[in-house]
C-alpha cells in the first residue's frame, strides 16, 4: 500500500513537470519571430544561408514532433539547451544565479516567519489586533516594488544605513529581503492570527483550560499546531511570492539573481532560458508541494482517505 502510494505520488510529480515542459514548448513555439534573428541580434545582417545552417544546427528545421521529442529527451538528461543570447548552457545560466536568489528567498522567508509568528502570538485575541490587522492589510496590499523604493529612499538614500544596489554581503541583503518579507509576513501573520483565534473557540480549548492550562501553554501545546494547518496551505503561495518578488526586487535593487535572468530572457526572447526557468519553477513547486504534504501528515494525524463509494455517488 505505502509503496504504491509513493509511486503514485512520484508519478503525479513527473506529470506536472512534464505538463509544464510541454506547455512551455508548445506556447513558445507559437511565439512570432525567428529565434535565429534573436540569436544574431537585431543589427546583424546575416545571409539566408548562414541562418539556414544555424537552424539546421539547432534542429529548428525538423518537424515539430521531432523537435519536441528531442527536447524531452534532452530534458530527461538534464540538458536545458543553450541560451541564444549568452551562448551558455541554460543550466549554467541558472546555476550561476541560483545562489543569489536562494539567499534572498531564505532571508525573506526567515524574516517573514519571525514577524508573522511573533505578531500573531502576541496580538491574537487582544484589543491591539485591530491595529495589527490594519498593518497586515497594508503589507498585503502594497506592491513589493513600491515597498522596495520606500525602503530605499529612507534607509539607503536618506539614512545611508544600507547600500543602494548590488549583492555584496549581508548589508546588501537586508533591504531586498525585508521588501519581499513584508507582504508575506502580512498574509502569514493574518492566517496564523485568525487560526489561533479560531482554534481558541474550539471545545478542546475549554477542556484544556478546565485542566488549569494557562495561555502560554494553550498556544504552545494546543492552538499553534491548529493554526499551522491553514498556514501550511499558504506554502505554495508564499514560495510564489518569494520567486515573483525576486523578479521585481532584484530589478529594484539591481541585484543579480534568477529574477534578473528571467526578465532579461523574456525581454530578449531568449527562449531556451525561458523554457529552462519554467521547468525549473515547476520542479521547485512539485518539491514544495511534496514537503507541504509531508508536513500536513506530521501536524495532523487525522489525514486519511475516507471510505469512498464504489460508484460515482457524487
Amino acid at each position: 500500500m505505502i509503496v504504491r502510494r509513493i509511486l503514485e505520488r512520484v508519478a503525479g510529480m513527473v506529470v506536472v513537470v512534464w505538463g509544464a515542459a510541454t506547455a512551455a514548448f508548445l506556447v513558445l513555439k507559437l511565439v512570432p519571430g525567428d529565434p535565429v534573428d534573436v540569436m544574431l541580434g537585431v543589427s546583424a545582417q546575416a545571409s539566408p544561408e548562414l541562418k539556414q545552417s544555424i537552424r539546421a544546427e539547432l534542429g529548428l528545421d525538423q518537424p515539430l514532433i521531432v523537435q519536441y521529442l528531442s527536447y524531452l529527451a534532452r530534458l530527461v538528461r538534464g540538458d536545458f539547451g543553450t541560451s541564444y543570447q549568452l551562448r551558455l548552457p541554460v543550466t549554467d545560466v541558472i546555476g550561476q544565479q541560483l545562489g543569489y536568489t536562494l539567499q534572498l528567498a531564505a532571508a525573506s522567508l526567515a524574516i517573514a516567519l519571525v514577524i508573522a509568528l511573533v505578531g500573531a502570538v502576541l496580538v491574537h485575541g487582544r484589543a491591539s489586533r485591530g491595529i495589527f490587522s490594519v498593518l497586515e492589510l497594508l503589507a498585503i496590499s502594497s506592491p513589493p516594488f513600491w515597498i522596495g523604493l520606500v525602503l530605499l529612499s529612507i534607509f539607503a538614500f536618506g539614512l545611508g544605513w544600507f547600500p543602494v544596489a548590488g549583492a555584496d554581503g549581508i548589508q546588501s541583503l537586508v533591504l531586498p529581503a525585508v521588501t519581499i518579507a513584508l507582504p508575506v509576513a502580512g498574509i502569514l501573520g493574518q492566517v496564523l492570527r485568525t487560526g489561533l483565534e479560531d482554534a481558541e473557540e474550539q471545545p478542546f480549548v475549554t477542556t484544556a483550560r478546565a485542566r488549569g492550562a494557562g495561555s502560554a501553554r494553550l498556544v504552545l501545546r494546543h492552538t499553534l499546531r491548529h493554526a499551522a494547518i491553514p498556514a501550511l496551505t499558504l506554502a505554495g503561495y508564499i514560495v510564489g511570492s518569494l520567486l515573483g518578488g525576486a523578479v521585481v526586487v532584484e530589478s529594484v535593487f539591481a541585484r543579480p539573481g534568477l529574477g534578473r535572468v528571467a526578465l532579461a530572457a523574456i525581454t530578449n526572447r531568449d527562449l531556451p532560458v525561458v523554457m529552462g526557468i519554467i521547468v525549473f519553477t515547476a520542479i521547485v513547486f512539485v518539491l514544495v508541494n511534496l514537503v507541504v504534504d509531508l508536513a500536513y501528515r506530521a501536524v495532523d494525524p487525522r489525514i486519511e482517505t475516507p471510505t469512498t463509494a464504489i460508484r460515482g455517488a457524487r
Binding site: M1, Q202, P203, F204, T206, T207, A208, R209, A210, R211, G212, A213, G214, R217, R221, H222, R225, H226, V299, D300, P301, R302, E304, T305, P306, T307, T308, A309, I310, A313
Partner: protein
C-alpha cells in the same frame, strides 16, 4: 441525604451579558458522593451555570455571587491565576463530544497527562518524572475501564470509538483527583448502549465519593444517575428536589410540561398520551385546509403496498479496498397510512436504507417498487415525475433550504416539482394553506431560513414536502436536533398528517422512545441487517434478539408515577 462534606456551595449566582441576565440568582450545593443534575432546554442557562463554577465564562459575561465555595476553597474573588490552580486540581470538566473536546492533534495519553503536567502529582503537587506520568495515565485509563490502556494512550482521539473517547475525556478530568466533576451533556453524542455504559461509570465514580454536577437536556438520562434534580428555565432554577420527587410529583408547570413532552418507552397507548397533550393549546395542530377528500381516510387501506423493497443491499468500499455492506438483504413493505420505524445505532445502515427507498442512491442488490411500479431500477429522468409521491424530512432542514430563498419560495419549489398538481388554485394561496396546515404563521412566508427557529424550520420542510402531495414521508432523525418540547409538537404534527391525510411514514431514528410513540411497526437494524421486526409494542416489550434486548435495556427510563424506586438503588 448523606452527611458527607460539601464540595460545591453556590448561592446567588447571577451572570449577565450587558443588561441581559442569563443566569438569575442560582443557588446549589453538592456533597461528596452526590450527583446533582441540572436539567433544562437550550438557552436555559444550565451550561453557563456550570462554566461559572470553573471561572470559564465567555468574554463579556459579568458575574455576581454571594457564596462560591469549590472543594473547600472560597472562589468569590478569584483571579485568573487562582482559578487556574483550582481547575483540574479541585474541579474537573467533562464536555459533550470527546472528538472535539479532546485536542484532535494530540495523543490521548498526552491529553490525560496534561493535568499532572500542570499541577504536579495529585495531593503532593510535586513534579512527576515522565515514566511516572505514563504509569499514572495508564492507571487512570484503566480506572475508567478503557481496555489495553497503554496502547490507547498512544492513539489519537479520532482513532478511538465514541465510548472510549468519552471515557478518556473522563479520565483526563479525573487526573488531578478533583473533589467535584462537572459533566456537561456527557452522553449526548453517544449511542444508547454506549450511553448506558458511560452513565454506569459516572454512577460508580459517584459511589466512590466524587461529587458530580451533571448538565443535561434529558430527564430520562438524569433519572438513573442523579440524587437530586434542579430544573432550569430562563436562567432560574424553577424546581429542585430529589430525583424521585421531581420526576414522580413535579410541582412547577414547566417541569410537568417537560415530563409530558419527553417520549418514553413502556407508556400507555400513544393515542391517550396525545389526546392528553392536545388539551394544552400551545401544541395544537391544524391539519385542516389540506385536500383530504381526494385521499380517502386512513382505514380504507388498499391491499396493494405503496412502497415495496425486497432484498436490498448496498456496498461501500473501505479505504483498504475491502467491501462493507451498509445495507444487506433488507425487505420492507409500506401501506398507505402506515408508520414504520427503523431503529439502530450509528453505522447501522438506517440512513443508507432511507436513501435507497427515496431513490437517492441505487441498490447493488434487490429492488424497490413504488406504487406497484419499478422505482430503483429506472433512470432518474423517469423517476423525476414520480418523486412527489415520496418525500424526505431530514434531520437538518436548514441545510436542505437554499439560503437565498424565502419560506414562500422554498415551499413553492415543492409545488413546481409536482407533476400531478391540479392547477386550479393560485400558488400563493396554496402556499399559505400549506403553511397553516403545518401550524406555521402565514406572516413567516417572507422570512429566510436562518431567521427561523429549529422547530419552525422543520415545519417549513414538512410544508414543502406536503406541497407535492406525497403518499410517503421518509423521516431521517427529524426531531433529533430539537428540544423535547418542540420535538413533541413535531411528532404530533407527523402523526396528525398520517391519520388525517393517510400519508405513510417511514421513520428512521436512534431514539427508541420516539419510535414507540409514533410507529405501529418497527425494524431493528444493526450492521446493515434487520435483526428483528414486528409490531412496535411487541418488539419493545418482548425483544427476542439479544441486541434488541440490550438496546431496549439501555434506554434511560424515568421512574413512573405508580412505581417508586429509590434512585440510589439503580435498577441495573
Amino acid at each position: 441525604m448523606t452527611e458527607n462534606r460539601e464540595v460545591v456551595r453556590v448561592s446567588g449566582l447571577t451572570v449577565r451579558f450587558g443588561q441581559t441576565v442569563v443566569v438569575d440568582s442560582v443557588s446549589l450545593s453538592v456533597a461528596a458522593g452526590e450527583c446533582l443534575a441540572i436539567v433544562g432546554e437550550s438557552g436555559s442557562g444550565k451550561t453557563l451555570t456550570a462554566r461559572a463554577l470553573l471561572g470559564l465564562l465567555p468574554d463579556g459575561a459579568s458575574v455576581d455571587v454571594d457564596e462560591l465555595v469549590i472543594d473547600g476553597v472560597d472562589a468569590r474573588s478569584n483571579s485568573e491565576r487562582d482559578w487556574r490552580h483550582l481547575r483540574g486540581a479541585r474541579v474537573g470538566l467533562v464536555s459533550q463530544d470527546a472528538l472535539v473536546s479532546l485536542d484532535p492533534l494530540r495523543r490521548v495519553g498526552a491529553e490525560v497527562a496534561e493535568v499532572i503536567e500542570i499541577h504536579g502529582a495529585p495531593g503532593s503537587g510535586e513534579r512527576m518524572p515522565r515514566a511516572g506520568i505514563a504509569d499514572t495515565v495508564t492507571g487512570l485509563l484503566a480506572r475508567v475501564a478503557v481496555p489495553e490502556p497503554a496502547d490507547r494512550a498512544r492513539q489519537y482521539p479520532h482513532e478511538l470509538s465514541g465510548g472510549l473517547r468519552q471515557r478518556a475525556l473522563i479520565a483526563s478530568a479525573l487526573a488531578g483527583e478533583p473533589g467535584i466533576l462537572i459533566a456537561d451533556e456527557p452522553t449526548t453524542a453517544l449511542d444508547v448502549t454506549v450511553q448506558a455504559q458511560v452513565l454506569d461509570l459516572l454512577s460508580r465514580l459517584r459511589a466512590a465519593g466524587l461529587g458530580i454536577i451533571m448538565i443535561s437536556h434529558d430527564l430520562a438520562v438524569v433519572a438513573g444517575v442523579a440524587d437530586r434534580v434542579a430544573v432550569m428555565k430562563d436562567g432560574r432554577i424553577v424546581e429542585e428536589g430529589t430525583t424521585t420527587e421531581v420526576l414522580s410529583n413535579p410541582q412547577h408547570p414547566y417541569t410537568q410540561m417537560l415530563l409530558a413532552a419527553a417520549p418514553r418507552l413502556g407508556d400507555g397507548p400513544f393515542a391517550d398520551r396525545v389526546a392528553a397533550r392536545r388539551r394544552s393549546p400551545s401544541i395544537e395542530i391544524t391539519p385542516g385546509g389540506l385536500d383530504t377528500a381526494a385521499r380517502g381516510p386512513l382505514d380504507q387501506r388498499e391491499s396493494a403496498p405503496l412502497l415495496h423493497a425486497t432484498g436490498l443491499g448496498r456496498d461501500f468500499r473501505r479505504h483498504d479496498g475491502s467491501l462493507r455492506s451498509a445495507v444487506d438483504d433488507v425487505s420492507l413493505t409500506v401501506h398507505a397510512g402506515a408508520s414504520i420505524g427503523v431503529v439502530g445505532e450509528s453505522g447501522s445502515g438506517k440512513t443508507t436504507l432511507a436513501r435507497l427507498l427515496l431513490g437517492f442512491d441505487d441498490p447493488d442488490r434487490g429492488s424497490v417498487s413504488l406504487d406497484g411500479r419499478d422505482w430503483s431500477g429506472v433512470s432518474e429522468r423517469r423517476r423525476r415525475s414520480r418523486r412527489g409521491e415520496i418525500q424526505l424530512i431530514s434531520q437538518d432542514p436548514l441545510g436542505s433550504f437554499d439560503p437565498r430563498y424565502t419560506v414562500a419560495r422554498i415551499v413553492a419549489e415543492g409545488l413546481r416539482g409536482d407533476a400531478r398538481r391540479r392547477s386550479s388554485e393560485k400558488p400563493a394561496a396554496r402556499i399559505r394553506q400549506l403553511l397553516e396546515s403545518v401550524g406555521l404563521d402565514v406572516s413567516l412566508e417572507g422570512r429566510r431560513p436562518h431567521e427561523l427557529s429549529g422547530g419552525q424550520r422543520q415545519r417549513v420542510a414538512i410544508a414543502r414536502a406536503l406541497a407535492s402531495e406525497p403518499r410517503i414521508l421518509v423521516c431521517d432523525e427529524p426531531v433529533s436536533a430539537l428540544d423535547v418540547s418542540i420535538q413533541a409538537t413535531i411528532i404530533d404534527l407527523l402523526d396528525a398528517l398520517r391519520r388525517d391525510l393517510g400519508v405513510a411514514l417511514v421513520f428512521v431514528s436512534h431514539d427508541l422512545a420516539v419510535v414507540a410513540q409514533l410507529c405501529d411497526e418497527v425494524l431493528v437494524m444493526r450492521d446493515g441487517r434487520v435483526l428483528e421486526r414486528g409490531a412496535t409494542d411487541h418488539v419493545f416489550r418482548h425483544p427476542e434478539h439479544p441486541f434488541t434486548r440490550a438496546l431496549v435495556a439501555a434506554v434511560p427510563r424515568m421512574p413512573s408515577s405508580d412505581r417508586h424506586h429509590a434512585p440510589d438503588e439503580p435498577s441495573r
